[in-house]
Subunit: 196 residues, 2 copies
């Protein structure tokens, strides 16, 4: 039994509300219609595309979670975070981020994404970068989506230091790696708000 358009659009709205991360392809297969039909439905219903939905969800979810800086100061969009443990962000490289001459992304933008994620992952009101060793492994270009993962790998409570490894990939290829040494006001163990 084929659903009416109205019925399909009602179910579509519900499905996306339940799972904002569902793709147009998955919806098309679920409702037995073409991807183009799903896109038109979304346009009529004013439901943003997946990428925008991810950003919205992430911004709402992590707004109150990140402690060391306001979320709008993070370069890139945080899509997952567990304070003092791990964090992931995405950054879409645009024409404004590359060298005019060769179209390669400028190093400080990749550094900025990685560095601000290293700040964001810290469960403290104050986090400052002390030292960073970074490697630009492969050129990144406009249109690339950089996925950056930060992993807290150690700490030194007496020195108020946290050590963070960061890896950035484009299509699963590593493009950037960094080791960040961060200063924070208190060690993990001093912080009674965490379960660590």
């Amino acid at each position: 039994m084929k659903r009416t358009k109205k019925e399909r659009q009602r179910l579509l709205t519900e499905t996306i509300e339940d799972n904002p991360f569902v793709t147009d392809e998955q919806l098309a297969s679920q409702f037995g219609v073409s991807v183009q039909t799903i896109r038109l439905d979304r346009m009529e219903l004013a439901i943003p595309e997946l990428r925008e939905r991810i950003k919205d969800v992430a911004a709402k979810k992590y707004e109150n979670e990140v402690k060391s800086l306001p979320i709008d100061e993070v370069i890139g969009e945080i899509i997952d975070i567990e304070l003092d443990s791990r964090a992931i962000s995405i950054f879409d490289v645009g024409a404004e981020h590359v060298f005019q001459r060769n179209g390669i992304a400028r190093g400080h933008h990749l550094f900025a994404q990685a560095n601000s994620l290293a700040v964001a992952v810290i469960n403290d009101e104050l986090a400052l970068t002390v030292k960073a060793n970074v490697f630009f492994v492969k050129p990144v270009r406009a249109g690339d989506r950089v996925i950056t993962k930060a992993i807290v790998r150690g700490q030194h409570n007496e020195k108020n230091r946290t050590y963070i490894d960061v890896v950035s990939t484009v299509n699963n290829d590593t493009v950037f790696k960094g080791e960040f040494e961060m200063y924070r006001t208190k060690g993990k163990g001093d912080n009674h708000e965490t379960s660590n």
Copy 2:
């Protein structure tokens, strides 16, 4: 014999044309008038202040000199450069460069100034950052003027590498240090345009 205002302004214009780096204090002492009088003269004659004159002179002078990127892509203003040897830039930290919460300059701006100077100093059409070890020594704040010096300290022709040390200071205090490993298309020795 006291000069007329007209005579003083004629001489003032000439003096600044001859040496754009002369300060208002030096001009006041030379003409036996107050610094305030010099400022008013400059305003009447539409001669910009020293800082702007430095930027103008630098932009004109280095526009054709820097090879690895267009000068407007350098973060900060280059005020001196000798390709494949050394370079200096200044960067005035504004409110837009600091963390809202603590007023401390964000690391990626200091990194950007240092990194783009490391690119600019290279006498090659293509220069890319391979690796950087950076140290944020002291917090920098809005209103600070960061003076960054890059020194080429070595190279490896077979690997097409140039190694550059960068130090940034505010009022002669070191605030940032970095070691940059750069990729270039040809070694210094291959480049017949230089005298190295």
